[in-house]
Symmetry: D2
Subunit: 343 residues, 4 copies
């Protein structure tokens, strides 16, 4: 038996529907670089699901790739992007954004979330700074949904971010690496059509949400970006067999699968959260989605992590360890029970 | 019925063995970023096949990505890479290498091949140029095997390139996007162990050789590149589910499959070449591998390409069209007969 | 006595008027970064001389700096610049343009000049290429006046370049490192106002034309480049004491000095050309400006260059040396006679 | 009469000795790009003054240019530089470092100073972080002497920074834009030879310390940087007339001028500090060098700044303004008295 695995949401290959469709199309010849029928069909499904009939949709291989491609293609050389200090583009992408030439302007976040207020305060000061021509121009706001800490923006909060972006001529970019888990969370009030309405660009995560790999970058109003395809190619992010990505998003958006696929993860996480509370474990952070951050004594952590795969997060002091429990579309009742039996 | 498809060697998804293994491992949890057992097993198989026991092997998603990652990671900021004018990094990758900050120094090639003599001549002049400190330092030679025109370097030619690289402190990098077709060509005398011996870095193509996607970058002596992993990540080229690439190369290197997988393509291409010769079609270029470049009258091209998918190459004059016929691991006898019946 | 020096046009510090003005203003306090009155006055003089009342004018330190700043600020990440193979940005700037991420697309030139015809031919083919989205978009044409070989574009030729640029949405950029020598050449029919009319951006050379250092970048219609100041700063090209550059261009554009300053150089060069012809020396290239390219036997070269400083250009064969004789604003009759006495 | 000007230390052109030497050498022909005798002489003087006989010394045009050239030439693509949040490379250079592809890792400073302790703490955690291969490698520490706030590192503090750099394989880089003012401060215990001993690279400021423009980059042990000249050229930072910079540093290092030139500035600043204290003005920050940060009521600021040029720094609240008073080598007794009469 495998031991229960909660190390991350990318430990299993792909949802059966995804593999099945790849298998089905394996005798069909496709054209290259995402110009094929499967990609077109997947795009049509996403446009419908997100209510953005004119959107340009590009399939890329991974999250860091999507982030660096979008950000560097949208920004001019003198422009910078805001992110929360905990934003994935800050500490977890090996300086990918800076390698493309752009500064990441850090703002303090709240449990992973960037507030419109903090952005507005910065921009008010920047706009009045007589020396601002000696500094980068902030031109984009980067957020993730759910955040790196599993928290969620509300519709109102995204609306506020959109407003400050509009007021200062900035683009709003949302990283949806785990978007299916946001959509599957009962507390969530932000829909795919909301993202089309609020964001200048966002991506719908595949890698962590049932695909072998892949993310769908959505640009609701693509008129201002006529060379985005070339910019993808130039960053090494254009797959020759684009149809391999198209097939996966076709599978994920048939029969409303993307709306459903995160639900087992949330149910599992809720069950684990409840058990933890009942057993008196201190939650490090209260989050409604598929990630749970938990504070163990080192002994507890050593014992449990020998019998279930957990994610090491950090060691806040000598005696304790914070671990991450990540559920996913692939988490089973058996996994959950296996974990609970260890607590 | 599908019409026979010779448009390129990346029109079909994957070799059945590749899909089968992905299916098999779909219930197993893996660690992330290529640290898993499947990747390790695939690496061991490649090290054995290429006789390079200490090599570092990294799985990347595509060819342009591999090229830009390798080249920019190996070069210092003031260094440049030589390529034949027809080299893929020159005209077909949207300026990807320049975007990383490096000049591509073009040398005339011969049917896609760069000669050691041309490189040596340039370096002799450069070394004597009193103003060379005002110019980029050539620090790498880029070649592809087979070349973009389907031609092959001989062992002797690669040895000569290695020699000039050693004499001038340059790295030799070989792009093996279609390497399986070189290995399957009877005329070829360059083996995988030869590549380990001659090259500072090369990649073994998966995308065009039976994988859904993916290339295996091989660094025979990795001591000088301790941060290559970080450099991959930083360029957006690190797949979270590295095991999806590992599984594919595991399948391609089990039972010597990679040595075999190109053979149907070469047999098919040879059959087509023979028929073309018999029927008096003028070959645009004589090549021994899986690509055939053929000169049609526009009428012929229009007629035939309506009934078989061919690759448009160029229009050398008003009345003629050069087309590319690319066979692949997936080409069937039926495809070949279908095409021949049209000639 | 100094031996006659024709090694280059940047061997002497500055025209006396330039040093005199720097001395004069040495007790005056100025504001920083080019916001001062001297810069404003110099800008007003240049706007008047070039008949471009709305132009933005920025003072930079040197030619490579001007080239890389202008080109990288004007181009989007996926865009490239055309240059003649002999263009300064190709072989003499150590890959500066590529370091900013942009490909230099080389076209064959004619004695240093790029023809509108060659550019148009490329663009016609590129526009019809179905794969052009996989290639960089040409977005700028780089020329120099005089060229690196001392030749001159005619008004008609610049008009034709402007036309092809307009037809394909490209910017025309002219590098005027030695512009004063073009303006002082009797054959020249291109005026400063012509440059304002034809070019999207150009620079008026100071370093080689009488200043200690410095170039004046002129953008006739700056509306599309609101952040050029920040882009200068970001490339390390903004001088804190901008007034040091302003003072020099103030001196160069007072009393029409810039129109006059090249004349002694052209008179000297004409005198030398005449003498060379009379004495039967083979000119390597016929040029009307301040650079003369001359083919010597090695013995001649050795003898003469021991008694006058010449510029080594290249060794076309074992027995010969091509040298460059560059006159400048500082060349004296004595220098010329000294040189002629050696021939 | 000019009103007293304390707006910055770069409001006057150059020390008379600098202009005089430029005038003197104006009839001498020099070779280009810093290969001339004046540059060599200036280098010899600096090597002697800094007790670094084998140092490579390069003359660049300005501070941001020096910073971006040094940092990007010393770092590999995956490497980053530490700076205090107040470091010039963070907020005042328009993202110049990021444009070269490198992340600036911010650490909290103390009155502009970065502590070895803060760097060591970060590195201890980074070295233990299992995910550090997914992050940039810190490879350089950037400090300035005096800092942007006019404070000084002690010899002991620099020694400690050197130690942590050595322990973790990082380079120590010191920005000496205002170095003459540090050297002229009685409290200072860090000499030029100390900088040679502690730093892997540093620059001696000219622009703010008596030159028209220019900074001298010193690499005490240049063996590891054989292509630094090309890297300067490639960043547009190589002046054709290098001798114009050489002449200025020759003048600044003749007769020990660089040790003396800052003294009038410190004497003036001390006098102003004393008067401010006596008159009860609240100092915003206590600093021993040529910058004084002073908190005014808005009314005071308005009144005084109409009669003496001050530097606006920030508005900490609605009612107050923090101004900077910067003295320089050019500050006269008259300037000081003029200012004091307004207080």
């Amino acid at each position: 038996m495998n031991k229960p695995n909660f190390a991350s949401d990318y430990v299993y290959a792909a949802h059966p529907s995804v593999l099945r469709l790849l298998q089905e199309v394996n005798t069909i010849a496709f054209t290259g670089y995402g110009t094929d029928d499967l990609c077109e069909s997947a795009r049509a499904r996403i446009r419908k699901a997100a209510d953005c009939p004119t959107a340009a949709i590009h399939f890329l291989s991974g999250g860091t790739q999507a982030n660096l491609t979008v950000i560097s293609a949208f920004l001019q050389s003198h422009e910078a992007v805001f992110a929360a200090e905990t934003g994935h583009i800050n500490g977890h992408e090996a300086g990918a954004i800076e390698l493309t030439g752009h500064k990441v302007l850090l703002l303090p976040g709240d449990a992973g979330k960037l507030s419109a207020k903090a952005v507005r305060l910065f921009m008010e000061q920047w706009s009045k700074d007589e020396n601002r021509a000696h500094t980068v121009r902030p031109a984009m706001v980067y957020v993730s949904q759910p955040t790196e800490y599993g928290t969620l923006y509300t519709k109102r909060e995204l609306q506020d971010l959109k407003d400050v972006c509009r007021d200062y001529g900035m683009a709003l970019y949302l990283d949806g690496a785990r978007l299916a888990y946001a959509l599957a969370t009962p507390d969530n009030d932000v829909t795919l059509p909301d993202l089309s309405a609020f964001c200048d660009v966002f991506y719908i995560g595949g890698t962590k949400c049932g695909a072998l790999f892949g993310e769908a970058v959505v640009i609701p109003d693509p008129a201002g970006h006529p060379y985005f395809f070339t910019q993808i190619k130039q960053r090494g992010a254009l797959l020759a067999k684009g149809f391999v990505l198209g097939a996966q998003f076709e599978a994920l958006f048939r029969d409303d699968l993307y709306s459903e696929i995160g639900k087992p993860a949330i149910r599992a996480a809720d069950k684990i959260r409840l058990a933890l509370r009942e057993k008196g474990y201190p939650l490090h952070l209260s989050t409604p989605t598929n990630q749970i951050f938990l504070r163990f004594t080192n002994e507890q952590y050593k014992e449990i992590s020998s019998r279930a795969a957990l994610g090491f997060w950090e060691q806040p002091d000598e005696a304790h360890t914070v671990a991450r429990i990540a559920t996913s579309w692939a988490t089973t009742d058996q996994d959950v029970e296996g974990l609970l039996s260890l607590l």
